[in-house]
Amino acid sequence: MRRVGLVGAGITDCRSRWVEATYWNLFQQATKATLEDAKVTTDEVDSVVYGIYNDIFEHQAIPESSLTGIIGMAHKPGVRVTSGGATGFYAMRAAIMEVASGYSDLVLCIGGEKATDCFDPVSKTQTPMVIDTIAKSWDPFFEYPLGATASDSYMQVCMAYNDNYPNDITDPEIRATIIEMLCRQGNRNPYGQRRDEKVTKQQVLESRWIIAPFLRLLEVCMYTEGAGGLLFASEEKAKEISKRTGSPIIWIKGVGAANESYNPGRGGLYKPLHRIESDRIAAERAYKMAGVTPKDIQLVELHDAFIAQFMVTMGELGFVPIGKTRDLVEKHIMADIRELGENEHPKKGQILINPSGGLIFGGHFVGGSNMFSTWSLRREMINRSIRYGLVHGTGAINAVFGGAVVFELE
């Protein structure tokens, strides 16, 4: 297997709605930004991997077909990846594998989403229709007719976790503290959707309930329209591009993925509701491949769909003990951006988590959210000289899809 390096990244502005652009233009914007970042032309790119979550949001059954020419990838191989919330991660995995296998030397991995063109004629707003479209991710026989939503599904896992590990994610103050910290981080992201917002702990605690006792309105991720691109290169090509740009290469050290059974149950390989095994297994695989442990990693871009899940996932990734994820705040394991400023390395024993503001403040254009996370991770690794960083992705019913990539700064 060949070494693979990340040599370029670019994202669009993250917006609740882009009336100025269709997904064609968003993908083109992100491609342009990515190629300019790496100082490469479209001719040099061997192939493209698209991350697009669902056809209904794009309003086209093969949306990648109309993108190929627009983003300068005509006559090149192109494959679309779609894996629920974890689409971005799995698209990255496919792009990395393509380089590692020797099939291509330079692969563009581009993901994005339109979402809020969906419209509910009854409430005359977008949200119920967006939620309904996402709910179509559940099977039409058993789950969808019951009225499942993404929030319910992830909260089912958090409530089950709380059944088995009480007094951990229950403290609203802890969750609100994390939100406040993420908000401050999101304020630094020039492309972040909520970069101008100031959300206080008190506002979180007073925001309306979505699902008690773990989900208030200000504890949930956004719907975003936008796109993000990454360029993965073989060792030789990466070194050549790095000389051109003067930017260090970020090497892919480990990639781990795991999808749990769709069906929850007891024993066997059924999905245990009280854990996110997909996250745990994926991370263990990524660490093993990279030859690192969580102690080596001080920068994480985590797929924070919901803040209670953020805490559980940090436990599953091995950064804090399961059942004691509140240590993130109580033991100051989550680094405070006010202390780090723009260029400081996190202190020993601390982790900088979601400096982009994450999916709650930065942006969540589903097919490319993990590319967005990787764009931020690369920026922070270079600016702060952080050796190892991790990007996490999750998705599907009850968080059954999970993925993790460990990166190393050259």
Binding site: R15, V19, E20, D55, I56, H59, D117, F119, D120, P121, V122, S123, P128, M129, I131, D132, I134, A135, P140, F141, F142, E143, P145, L146, G147, A148, T149, S151, D152, M155, Q156, M159, A160, N162, D163, R208, W209, I210, I211, A212, P213, S261, N263, P264, G265, R266, G267, G268, L269, Y270, L273, H274
Partner: protein, 328 residues
């Protein structure tokens, strides 16, 4: 006309409209849809849904490892290289595998059904390995609220009287709410239980709450006067006619809403549309101070007898905000 897959109001007029961009320029948007109609086969799941239609619950049991799938999602065991699975008839009782979330804000297709509760039921409890059945959960004690559907409670399977072959043909009710004589009845039908007139929960009368109640009545009366001066509040109440009894641990009252006005009587009137219950009258004081009665329901502080009572809450929740916005 029978119920249709797409509701008549779920549509948009053909055409385009203008929308303003962040850059101040005008853009066009077009109304369209991506609706596909289906006659989707239940295929291998048909056995399960045919059984439901016959008021039976079946699962599939592996002939090699003995694990049971509920529902019978497959007839070939995924753990034993697809060994044959045989039909097993399942009991009409189960255990709630984990505490279940309550849906308050559903997706577009389920608006009008909230609040509802769905969870996973462990039915093949005698088996070492078994999957859980996703199901709707219902209570005979009012609308679902925290503390009812918690991990480990025993549940009774209930069938709708009229079934079509759908996962919504069944739901589960806490066994302790089922009259003793019906607990072993199988099948048990919805019409055999009383969901329409739930008993009021027992109130904790507390002398210390009396002053809170007195202050609440005073605040409510002040609010009634403010409504008279607030066009927004009057618009909120326009066309509404309700008498809602309220019981609290400090004392009772009745909200009377009619002719765009709100009035409060310091007792539960003889005739009410419904009665709601909160142990602490402060729940309503919080609401007056820009809080939310919907949030109080979600937190379990306010008991409601029915969905109809729940639908009424957003109107009440708007009132304090409307008064504030009108500067009254």
């Amino acid at each position: 006309m029978s119920e249709m897959v797409l509701r008549p109001e779920f549509n948009l007029p053909k055409g385009t409209s203008e929308v303003l961009g962040k850059d101040g320029k005008t853009y066009l948007q077009f109304n369209s849809s991506m609706a596909t109609l289906y006659q989707q086969t239940y295929g291998e799941h048909s056995r399960f849904f045919l059984a439901l239609r016959d008021a039976k619950l079946i699962g599939s049991k592996c002939t090699q490892c003995g694990q049971v799938m509920v529902s019978a999602a497959t007839w070939n065991c995924p753990f034993c290289n697809f060994a044959e699975m045989k039909e097993v008839v399942l009991p009409h009782k189960g255990i709630l595998a984990q505490t279940a979330p309550i849906t308050i804000f559903p997706s577009q297709s389920f608006i009008g059904q909230a609040p509802f509760c769905r969870g996973y039921v462990d039915i093949a409890t005698q088996e070492k390995v078994a999957s859980f059945l996703p199901s709707r959960l219902r209570t005979t004690t009012g609308i679902p609220r925290p503390g009812v559907f918690v991990k480990g409670i025993e549940l009774k399977l209930v069938f709708k009287d009229k079934r079509e072959g759908s996962i919504l043909d069944i739901f589960w009710v806490p066994m302790k709410e089922i009259p003793k004589k019906l607990r072993n009845k199988a099948p048990l039908f919805e019409s055999e239980l009383n969901f329409e007139n739930p008993k009021l929960p027992k109130l904790k009368i507390n002398k210390n709450l009396k002053p809170v109640y007195v202050k609440l009545l005073q605040s409510l009366n002040e609010m009634s006067l403010k409504v008279l001066k607030s066009p927004r509040a009057q618009k909120d109440l326009a066309g509404k006619k309700y008498r809602i009894g309220v019981k609290t641990g400090g004392g009772d009252f009745t909200f009377i809403i009619e002719k765009n006005k709100m009035k409060v009587e310091p007792k539960v009137a003889k005739k009410t549309d419904f009665v709601i219950v909160a142990n602490n009258p402060k729940t309503f004081n919080d609401w007056i101070n820009d809080g939310s009665l919907t949030d109080a329901v979600i937190e379990g502080k306010l008991w409601l007898p029915s969905r109809e009572a729940f639908i009424f809450l957003p109107m009440l929740d708007r009132l304090p905000r409307s008064i504030r916005r009108d500067g009254v």
